[in-house]
């Protein structure tokens, strides 16, 4: 659905996007992940034909963004970082205007406007002025604006920024419901969001793609199967005995003693399993059967956060890219 090949955007003094390539298949929800200023917004603006690329090629639904912008624009719904709203208009009038400007047939405008207002739960404020709406409502009107012409591709630039937790959940739910009919790219610098909503992640840093993978695989890249065991010392548990017992549990490959403040009071071990096995159930049984007090048994699966830091932290930094961090917006 979306193909990007060797795309670059260079400004006079810095490079905002540097030779990135990726593809997005029909129906995917893709998270575009990166720290502030990584080039997310610039890439999205190129895809929506707002900015022309300096080099490279991008096609949306088979149409080149530079050669056939009108065809691309017909097929894209775009929610910029700040929703493009006219504060002096009422929600209904605004959406009617957008429906018209997106070339919806006149006969469908009214029906479709009502539909998206219901869908994005802004129907109850349809006659209010946008200037009087709260941030959450504005964001949802922005989303309604993006889907009003039923585009094949939805491009959402930080759709949940500035919302309160409840609104964030609602927005994610909404995006989730939109999947299937639309191919969605959403940018964010919030990792749990990607975990909650997306199937695929494109991690971008300083204008380059650092990783492209499915959310699950990315998470599994590091530390699947590692478990942290915490045991109460009151239960007459001897450090050495526990260590040995844990090593005998089937499926365990390595046992490490943890250090730190918490380890002073209780015994804490990090236990690695053999590849493809999880020894958690066996560990729990072994500890309990030995008569020790098991306080905690938690999976040490790395969060995307750690994966992300690992991937972006080790990037070599060319001098020209230092400036790009701030001005990619």
């Amino acid at each position: 659905m979306i193909q990007v090949e060797g795309l670059s955007k260079k400004y006079a003094r810095h490079v905002a996007v540097n030779n990135i390539s990726f593809t997005v298949d029909k129906g995917d929800i893709v998270g575009f992940l990166g720290p502030n200023g990584a080039g997310k917004t610039t890439t999205m603006r190129i895809l929506t034909c707002f900015l022309p690329p300096t080099e490279g090629k991008a096609t949306v639904a088979g149409f080149d963004v530079f050669e056939q912008p009108l065809e691309v624009k017909k097929r894209i719904g775009y929610l910029p970082e700040t929703p493009p709203l006219y504060p002096e208009m009422s929600v209904r009038d605004y959406l009617t205007f957008v429906a018209n400007i997106k070339n919806l047939p006149s006969a469908d405008v009214k029906r479709r406007t009502e539909e998206v207002m219901e869908r994005c739960s802004v129907a109850d404020v349809r006659d209010r002025l946008i200037s009087k709406l709260s941030k959450g409502y504005r964001q949802r009107v922005g989303l309604a604006q993006a889907i009003i012409h039923n585009p094949d591709v939805l491009i959402l630039d930080e759709p949940t920024s500035g919302l309160d937790p409840k609104q964030i959940l609602e927005t994610r739910e909404l995006i989730h419901n939109l999947a299937g009919e639309h191919t969605i790219i959403l940018s964010t610098h919030i990792l749990p969001e990607v975990e909650a909503v997306c199937q695929k992640v494109i991690i971008i840093n300083k204008g380059r793609v650092v990783a492209t993978d499915s959310v699950d695989r990315l998470r599994h890249r590091t530390g699947e199967g590692a478990v942290q065991v915490q045991i109460d010392t009151d239960g007459a548990a001897d450090k050495l005995a526990v260590h040995q017992r844990l090593e005998q549990v089937p499926g365990v490959s390595k046992v490490l003693e943890a250090t730190g403040a918490a380890a002073e009071k209780n015994l804490i071990f990090e236990v690695d399993s053999l590849p493809g096995r999880s020894a958690r159930a066996d560990i729990a049984r072994a500890v309990v059967q030995s008569g020790w007090n098991l306080l905690e048994l938690k999976s040490l699966t790395y969060s995307l956060e750690e994966v992300f830091l690992e991937l972006t932290g080790s990037q070599p930094q060319a001098p020209e890219e230092v400036a790009s961090v701030e001005s990619a917006k």
Binding site: R45, T48, C49, F50, L51, P52, L70, K73, K74, I76, Y78, P80, T82, P84, L85, Y86, P87, E88, M89, D93, F97, V98, N100, I101, K102, N103, Q145
Partner: protein, 255 residues
């Protein structure tokens, strides 16, 4: 064409839902009313004096009232036009709504034409108020309608051309005040160029006078549609809109 009209309608909506349109209409109603009253009164007084003195002086409503009135209204227009055009694109850029327009399946030209057209219609609404004022002369006198109509056409053309330049100025900045100030300076400059005629009649002076926006209105107020003047106005409109298109395009390259 439908897109142009959609954008134009939305723009008019914004004018009339915000105080801008009403403030402008109020200011214009007061000023044009005052001018109509003052000029009309001096004409009536001149009429009395000519009767008292016993000599019958040639009195003509068209030449002595309506023509100067039209020129005055055109000058009021110079002051109000930057207020109409300053928000057109500057406000879109400030609010970020320009991103909506540019990423919609709409040609840039349609956006610009829609914007400009709405400003011209807004200005026409002001002139409609003036038309009410002037219609009183038709109740109490018998002026020739033709110079009135051509005069109003001239005022509208002059306004349309200043609004095109104003649209361009508005596309340069995201600050309405800056757009308003530059637009006002431009209007003023094009007005005072006509004052150069007091410095003789050299080629330079004639050239500057041709560039001046008010010197082209005279023939219209006299009931004459001169192709030279129409061409001037049309080419200025084209220049303004062309520059706007270039400026919008460069915005995308510079971003």
């Amino acid at each position: 064409m439908r897109n142009t009209w959609t954008i134009c309608r939305r723009e008019l909506y914004s004018y009339f839902v915000s105080p801008i349109a009403w403030v402008l209409l109020a200011i214009f109603a007061v000023l044009s009313g005052a001018f109509t009253y003052l000029i009309g009164q001096s004409f009536v007084r001149a009429g009395f004096e000519s009767q008292l003195s016993g000599q019958s002086m040639p009195m003509n409503v068209n030449e002595q009232v309506i023509a100067p009135l039209l020129s005055n209204i055109a000058v009021i227009g110079l002051f109000l036009i930057p207020l109409i055009s300053m928000r057109l694109l500057a406000e879109e850029k400030r609010q970020g709504t320009i991103e909506l327009l540019v990423t919609s399946p709409v040609h840039e030209l349609e956006i610009i034409l829609g914007k400009w057209l709405s400003a011209v219609l807004m200005y026409a609404a002001l002139i409609a108020v003036f038309f009410l004022d002037i219609s009183f002369f038709f109740f109490y006198g018998n002026p020739d309608i033709k110079p009135v109509l051509t005069g109003i056409l001239g005022i509208l053309l002059q306004g349309a051309c200043l609004l095109a330049l104003g649209t361009f100025v508005s596309s340069l900045t995201r600050n309405q005040i800056v757009a308003g100030a530059i637009g006002f300076a431009l209007a003023l400059l094009l007005w005072i160029l006509s004052w150069t005629t007091s410095f003789g009649n050299s080629d330079t002076v004639q050239f500057l006078n041709y560039l001046s926006i008010v010197s082209h209105l005279d023939s219209f107020t006299r009931g004459v549609i001169d192709s030279k003047d129409v061409i001037y106005y049309c080419s200025m409109i084209f220049l303004g809109l062309f520059l706007t298109a270039r400026s919008l395009e460069s915005l995308r390259w510079r971003a």
